[in-house]
């Protein structure tokens, strides 16, 4: 099935137009040179310290995510179409989360099943009735997209909690600029280095109600052992804000402060990169050592704002995903510009029957899972795995959805055997502020390095590519 896929560079009539520059560059570049540059790139990543910790593995705790030198290219027209669709989708998702914690109109209208929301572990009753600045819940959303043809895109999932990977978007470009400055000299590729500025503007556009003057913004990290620590440090550094850990913050009289060498300093907006459960041990997981006792009360009192909001994960759920097109129609009165992958909701007995009967052709995902863990890729599964998932689906159908395996598009990739097509996805980052939506052109392209593999997650051996959006028409 991988052979049948759409290749973004080689079309039936030769090289597709957006890849003309890449094609000419590859033809002019000897293979040894490419191998040499790849080693150079690895050296740069190590020196800058762009590493990723993989929990389940022994050995080197600071692993590099493989970086592929051959860029993934989107024409300006292709990107514009995606961009409009992304804005629409994220607007609807924020409206949905706001609604869920207020009047629940979409539930009352019967457009989304009530039980799916109110019994969902990602639903936070603590958020009911709380009015957030700009009614924004997912200030930073990572929307995973795949492509199956020249004009066919699908949203694979919405990451509304704490999507990561944006540092790779910026650093991959930085490394490409250093290794191949000539490629960029003609100014054909839209820049991405301003992402941290856009992010800071977004965060400053949502000060809490009781903030006077310019808001103080900080980034809250779980610390150096977190898998995305490099990204936290990178973003805080680029934005020029403090990178804080839970122990650096404290709440007194519902006001949040950080401990500085000059005493306590008030904090207004927290870009938090730790999950809801760990934010405040007084309200959520009492065992959490990462959070700040009393933070939730400061949040409720309007003295601090959190990005993303507590409870935004309700829109991440893979069963809720099924209803996003309906949300767009319900809140915006528009037709969805981006398609969903047709998805079977295993909580419905009919759909479950279909899934069980066709398991070997489907991808099965846990509704709360992420990072490529807990999923079954039917066509590549062993008999034992199929049996295991059959049992799981029968005992806990409400925890799973299933989708057809899509023929993901491929992009030429430099692998052991030389240059060969490999499957990719795309995660653009959508920033929603109190004033407007901002999207830096492109996003993170992840590539499944193993031949035929469809799993692009870095925790599963995926790599990344620089993603180009070409400037101007063409």
């Amino acid at each position: 099935m991988s052979a049948a896929g759409f290749d973004e560079m080689q079309g039936p009539d030769g090289t597709r137009a957006p890849y003309a520059l890449v094609d000419a560059w590859l033809k002019s570049l000897p293979r040894e040179q490419l191998a040499l540059k790849r080693r150079e790139a690895e050296g740069l990543f190590r020196r800058i310290g762009i590493t990723f910790a993989v929990y389940t593995e022994g050995g080197d705790p600071e692993r590099l995510i493989p970086f592929d030198l051959i860029p993934r290219v989107l024409a300006q027209a292709e990107w514009q179409r995606l961009k409009l669709g992304l804005e629409q989708r994220v607007k609807a998702l924020n409206a949905f989360i706001h609604d869920v914690y207020h009047n629940r109109e979409i539930l009352r209208a019967g457009r989304v099943p009530e039980s799916l929301i109110l019994n969902n572990p990602q639903f936070r009753p603590e958020m009911a009735g709380l009015d957030l600045p700009g009614h924004i819940y997912s200030h930073i959303a990572g929307i995973d997209m795949v492509r199956t043809g020249p004009d066919e895109y699908y949203v694979l999932e919405d990451n509304c909690r704490t999507p990561s990977g944006v540092s790779y978007m910026v650093e991959n470009r930085e490394v490409m600029l250093r290794l191949f400055p000539d490629l960029f000299r003609r100014g054909l590729v839209a820049p991405v280095a301003h992402y941290p500025d856009e992010l800071l503007e977004t965060l400053r556009s949502v000060p809490p109600p009781n903030c006077r003057g310019e808001p103080t913004v900080v980034l809250l990290t779980a610390g150096i052992h977190n898998s995305a620590y490099y990204e936290h440090a990178f973003l805080a550094d680029e934005m020029g804000i403090e990178l804080v850990e839970g122990a650096d913050l404290l709440v007194k009289n519902d006001i949040c402060y950080m401990r500085t060498t000059r005493g306590l300093a008030r904090v207004d907006v927290i870009y938090r990169r730790i999950d809801d459960d760990f934010l405040d041990p007084l309200v959520f997981n009492p065992e959490s050592m990462l959070g700040v006792p009393g933070l939730y009360f400061a949040y409720r009192a309007g003295n601090v704002n959190l990005a993303n909001a507590i409870g935004a994960g309700i829109a991440d759920d893979k069963a809720v995903y099924i209803h996003v097109p309906e949300m767009i129609r319900f809140y915006l009165g528009e037709q969805p510009l981006l398609s969903n992958v047709p998805t079977f909701d295993c909580r419905n007995p009919d759909e479950l029957q279909h899934v069980l009967a066709n398991l070997k052709d489907l991808v099965v995902k846990e509704v709360h899972g992420s990072g490529g863990y807990g999923m079954l890729v039917g066509p590549q599964a062993t008999r034992e795995q199929l049996a295991q998932f059959t049992a799981l689906l029968k005992s806990r159908p409400y925890d799973y959805i299933a989708q057809p395996t899509l023929a993901l598009s491929t992009v030429p990739t430099f692998v052991e055997q030389g240059i060969a097509p490999r499957h990719v996805d795309l995660r653009p980052f959508v920033l929603s502020g109190g004033d407007r939506i901002r999207i830096v052109p492109g996003g993170l392209t992840r590539v499944a390095l193993r031949e035929g593999s469809l799993v692009v997650n870095s925790s599963q051996g995926g790599g990344t590519k620089d993603t180009w959006v070409l400037e101007g028409p063409g």
């Binding site: 150096i224 620590y229 440090a233 550094d237 650096d248 500085t260 005493g263």
Partner: protein, 313 residues
């Protein structure tokens, strides 16, 4: 600045200063040992252990003082928090937690050092490789010191980095000189003899001050001058008085913004600095060099604790 950031910068600088000092100690011991002026050659290695302040921890791991045991313990043993390898590991861990407070050049200096550390295999050490390793450590810590001085903004981040470096250096210089008292000479008549002479010379070698000594004293190596150089000479950047001049300057700059904070730390630092500034070497020798240095070491420790308390470390 976040208190945790200040703390990490302070310790980052301390650990790199310590790595440099330990490398110098080992170089000094190796040189003394090769010069064969002493009948009982384990005493250089013993004094290196004493001067590193690790005698108890060392004897818990090694029954006998020998060159390989001391080299391994001070350079490579990861169970020794002050070994060179541990210092570099800890410094880099601190650097990672405060990456946003480091300049790009500082990060590169520390991270490249940490990456290059893998090129040295403790199992493959011989005299030449050890010498190359110790030179490398000195060069890398020198690079860090140069890079931070020439790239950091002059604000709290720099002040706490410098504070850590010079508090560590003061402690090291005081210990190094004090150890002369722990090293028993083979025979009483050797006092003032050849072995004694070479031991004082070795101290100068460790602090890289043979030339400084000749410039300042224009005389044969004598204990009273070496002590004066390391305690009282403001021109010499490893002397106690120089270190405390730096320490009080940084504390004053930090305090300038907020005079209430850590008033006690400031008082401790200034009183010690005044004592060093107006001290006389003949008085110090008459009342006992060991007692004097022990007092400085204890008060430096107190100052460290007071800084941690005052700035919420």
């Amino acid at each position: 600045m976040l208190a945790r950031t200040a703390e990490s910068l302070f310790w980052l600088a301390r650990y790199l200063e310590r790595a440099d000092y330990v490398a110098r100690l080992l170089q000094g011991a190796a040189h003394m040992s090769a010069a064969r002026v002493d009948a009982d050659r384990s005493s250089e290695w013993e004094s290196a252990i004493l001067a590193s302040g690790a005698e108890n921890a060392f004897s818990a791991r090694h029954a006998l003082v020998s060159a390989p045991a001391v080299i391994d313990y001070l350079a490579f043993d990861t169970s020794n928090p002050s070994s060179i390898v541990s210092c570099i590991e800890t410094a880099r861990r601190n650097a990672r937690t405060v990456r946003t407070a480091l300049t790009a050049d500082m990060w590169d200096a520390i991270n490249s050092t940490w990456l290059e550390l893998r090129n040295f295999d403790p199992e493959q050490m011989d005299d030449d490789r050890l010498a190359a390793f110790l030179d490398w450590v000195k060069a890398r810590t020198g690079l860090f010191h140069g890079v931070y001085a020439s790239t950091m903004l002059r604000n709290d981040g720099f002040y706490f980095t410098r504070l850590g470096q010079f508090l560590e250096r003061a402690d090291n210089s005081a210990r190094l000189l004090d150890v002369k008292y722990h090293v028993r000479l083979p025979h009483a008549e050797d006092v003032g003899g050849l072995v004694d002479y070479y031991q004082w010379l070795a101290i100068l070698r460790v602090v890289g001050a043979r030339r400084a000594y000749r410039v300042l004293f224009k005389a044969k190596v004598a204990p009273i001058h070496v002590a004066e150089l390391i305690i009282l000479r403001p021109e010499f950047p490893r002397s106690l008085v120089f270190c405390f001049e730096q320490i009080t300057t940084q504390l004053d700059r930090i305090n300038g913004q907020d005079p209430q904070r850590s008033a006690e730390g400031k008082r401790l630092a200034h009183s010690l600095y005044a004592q060093l500034r107006f001290g006389r070497i003949d008085h110090i020798f008459n009342s006992g060099l060991h007692e004097y240095l022990s007092d400085v070491i204890v008060r430096s420790d107190e100052l460290g604790l007071e800084i941690a308390k005052g700035y919420l470390f």
